[in-house]
Amino acid sequence: MTTLLQLEGVTRQFGGLKAVSGVDLSVAPGEVIGLIGPNGAGKTTLVNVITGVHRASSGIVRFDGEDVTGLKPFQAARRGIARTFQIVQPFPEMTVAENVAAAAMFAGAVRYGDEANAEALGHLRFVGLAEMADKRASSLTLAMRKRLELAKSLAMRPKLLLLDEVNAGLNATEVDHALSLIRGIAARGVTILIIEHLMKVVLSLCTRIVVLHHGELIASGTPQEIVQDPRVIQAYLGRRYAAGGEAAEGQSHG
């Protein structure tokens, strides 16, 4: 199989506003693909359509060879599509371990009880939260919550992981840590679609970047190609990149 996720003419309208408009996109297994675009371009909406939170107004979403358009979120999750929220959403009154165990159990099909707990602990160790396992999720700092969010999505044993601004609000050191986590996940063979405004993240992680603008795909290519694309600079990257992509990269802010 050459494509894991295939979008054909996906459109989502809110009243008169086409938040996502005729998007065609195919993602190959193992790819780490960046989705960027100006604020309000429709990135989150696209993720919402893929995960079943919003129904596509028209178009088809295929995953793993099957038509998954219109599936409920939990069904999408069980098929192997996991996502993180732009605003993190843990179960606040549960322990960190329980949060991850829930994901393992319901989406990852791990048995309730010790098995799920063991699995949860494994993922927590991977993201470096093992010592917080018995703390309530509400007591975590933002950076920890983002890592918890990652651990949860891993526990879902996803084939495709959709990361919506997982690095927003982290400082540079923390971003570095998160990057290595994401690389680790990619190394396990999970296909990743990442939305991010921090260019250094996108540029250093992604094999390919697609750009959304006014709901439409306006560009797709390697990081190099994208940072030099005048339309992308005009619509998204701004003056720092106007001089020339490579030079700008070093001092790019996030």
Binding site: G40, T44, A143, E165, G169, A172, K200, A235
Partner: protein
């Protein structure tokens, strides 16, 4: 040099009986841009919430423009001239953009015309807000919400604006525009205290910087000096 506009001395604060701030000292001069940086959970947001009266200081003093605000309620703080753009935007989700902005001007007494003029200014600064005036704020994209939140804070015509997570979720081009706009406002006399994770950007626009760690200010000084400090670079500017 004249009295600082905002002068914080020995402030302690926390949530319930969990202390977060352990004696914060900090002074911001009239008409400057200052930034506050620090790792996650250091207490930056808590400090801002303490200044604006959402969290009660258990000890210490917060003097602003000659008035003591440590025990003041949020409305009194705003009346004294400090507006706060909170973390997480906190827009009124079922109100239109326009109404959100007008809520920002809730305490203003200088007449409808002045408010209307400021509204125009905000629309000029963020054209997308002008286009979507009547859209419910809750349905805006993350970045659009951030713009609306900053504009709402400015609508209070404050002497000083606190912005928590300035660039969070904003496209790079928008961050540039926003920095320009803030500099322009600053030239007109607005004092700014910005919390920003992207330390490079923060140090670029701020004159003074404060570094916070576990509830205390551990370093402070001119931005330029801090930007060249190897310890700071190591801790906050990352490897890339």
């Amino acid at each position: 040099m004249a009295e600082p506009l905002l002068s914080i001395k020995g402030v302690h604060a926390g949530y319930g009986d969990v202390p977060v701030l352990w004696g914060v000292d900090l002074a911001i001069e009239r008409g400057e841009i200052a930034c506050l940086v620090g790792s996650n959970g250091a207490g930056k947001t808590t400090l801002m919430r303490t200044i604006s009266g959402l969290v009660r200081a258990t000890a210490g003093s917060i003097a602003f423009d000659g008035a003591e605000l440590a025990a003041a309620e949020p409305d009194a703080v705003l009346a004294a001239g400090i507006a706060h753009v909170p973390e997480g935007r906190r827009l009124f989700s079922a109100m239109s953009i326009r109404d959100n902005l007008l809520m920002g001007a809730y305490l203003r007494r200088d007449g409808a015309a002045a408010v209307e003029a400021d509204l125009k200014k905000m629309y000029a600064m963020f054209p997308i807000l002008a286009q979507r005036q009547e859209q419910d704020a809750g349905t805006l994209s993350g970045g659009e919400q951030q713009m609306c939140a900053i504009a709402r804070g400015l609508m209070g015509a404050p002497k000083m604006l606190l912005i928590d997570e300035l660039s969070l979720g904003l496209a790079p081009a928008v961050v540039d525009q926003l920095c320009d706009a803030l500099r322009a406002l600053n030239r007109e006399g607005l004092t700014l205290l910005v919390v920003e994770q992207d330390v490079a950007t923060a140090l670029e626009i701020a004159k003074h910087a404060f570094v916070m760690d576990t509830g205390r200010i551990t370093r402070s000084g001119e931005s330029a000096a801090l930007a060249n400090d190897p310890a700071i670079r190591e801790a906050y500017l990352g490897s890339l």
